[in-house]
């Protein structure tokens, strides 16, 4: 909850800052700008609200089955949602801020800008939603039939994997969406191309979070044989940490590439094809480290 709130606060602060800049540029449009700012902030806030829901669930949860295992599951749920909401909160702030500023520059486009902002920030929210799915599974699945050792570590790893990987994808998706709102305000004719490039770029930025979700599901449901050895617990925990941290960098990196590609599609429309191709090549290389992290995670889970 705490981590989730930090992200949402940063994102909303950025939005409010750019909205104020927009108001200074074109005070007559204050109504439209304020409306757009509030809608955008509401989306950024939703990540924090997910975190709040999970936090409240955790507070009022009964602790029936094996106490330590349950403790590990709820701790993992909290970490997953907290980290996951951080990225999406920050990310959703970028499109909201740029759309608010864009309305002041190009008031005629306020409808398209708001629509584009909502599409972009909806994609930014997906990592937070993936993290919430993992958190809810951790809270409500019945793990009582599983052995305490090493399941506790697998559950913790599952929470960390999606939660941490979601930070990168949330921020990365937001960078692309922010540039698209900026681009539409600069060159309204580019609307279609910019939205398409943004969605392609965001889709690639989301993949680290999806890798994280994959590892989480494997850790949650593969059912490890009982073993009190310390190494049996460290392998699934290490797998979760590996994929989680490993997803942060590629998520942000893919977002940076997508941001610049979207910005230049808006300025140089006839070159959309070449830019999209370069963006995809660049993202594929940046993605490779996330794939290494996934390979190491899978080795830790299945080979060791």
């Amino acid at each position: 909850m705490g981590l989730g709130a930090i992200g949402a606060a940063l994102g909303e602060g950025y939005t409010a800052g750019l909205a104020n800049e927009g108001l200074a540029l074109r005070p007559k449009k204050s109504g439209d700008i304020l409306k757009n700012m509030l809608v955008g902030q509401a989306v950024a806030e939703s990540a924090a609200i997910f975190a709040l829901v999970i936090a409240v669930l955790l507070l009022f949860l009964g602790t029936e089955t094996p106490y330590l295992l349950k403790a590990s599951a709820v701790l993992a749920a909290g970490l997953s949602m907290g980290f996951g909401a951080f990225g999406s909160g920050v990310g959703a702030g970028f499109p909201a801020g740029q759309a608010s500023l864009g309305i002041s520059r190009q008031p005629a486009m306020s409808g398209s800008l708001s629509t584009n902002m909502l599409i972009g920030s909806a994609v930014c929210q997906t990592p937070a939603i993936l993290a919430m799915v993992v958190a809810l599974l951790l809270i409500f699945s019945d793990f009582s039939s599983m052995p305490l050792f090493p399941t506790w570590a697998a559950l913790l790893g599952a929470g960390l994997s999606t939660g941490l990987a979601a930070i990168g994808s949330g921020v990365g998706g937001g960078l692309a969406a922010g540039a698209s709102c900026e681009g539409i305000a600069r060159q309204p004719l580019s609307l279609g191309n910019v939205t398409t490039t943004m969605l392609v770029g965001q889709a690639v930025s989301q993949t680290p979070a999806i890798f994280g979700l994959l590892i989480s599901f494997i850790l949650l449901f593969s059912g490890f044989p009982e073993s009190t050895a310390l190494s049996a617990a460290m392998a699934p925990l290490g797998a979760g940490l590996c994929m989680g941290f490993g997803g942060i960098g590629p998520g942000i990196g893919n977002g940076l590439t997508a941001e610049e590609a979207v910005r230049w599609v808006a300025r140089n429309l006839e070159n959309t094809g070449g830019l999209t191709r370069t963006m995809l090549v660049g993202q594929a290389v940046a993605q490779s480290t996330a794939i290494y992290a996934m390979v190491v995670s899978l080795v830790l889970i299945f080979v060791i």
Binding site: S231, A235, G238, G249, L256, N271, M279, G282, A286
Partner: protein, 82 residues
Amino acid sequence: MPIEGAEIVKAASLLGAGLAMGLGAIGPGIGEGLVGAKACEAIGRNPGEAGLLTRTMLVGQAVSESTGIYSLVVALLLLFVV
């Protein structure tokens, strides 16, 4: 549960492998993204040089990739050799 020296080493090397690859992926991921971003910017400004720029981007990314590959090597060493 009795924990012996060899067991601690094994457990630490598994956790260490995960941390090495996980943390090691952050830098190259962001760095390669920056290279890709600048290449897109440059192609946007000067589409005629797209071939040269893509080549430069790939060389630059390959170099930033090296630390990611070091992490992978260290992680695999920790997993299979130690």
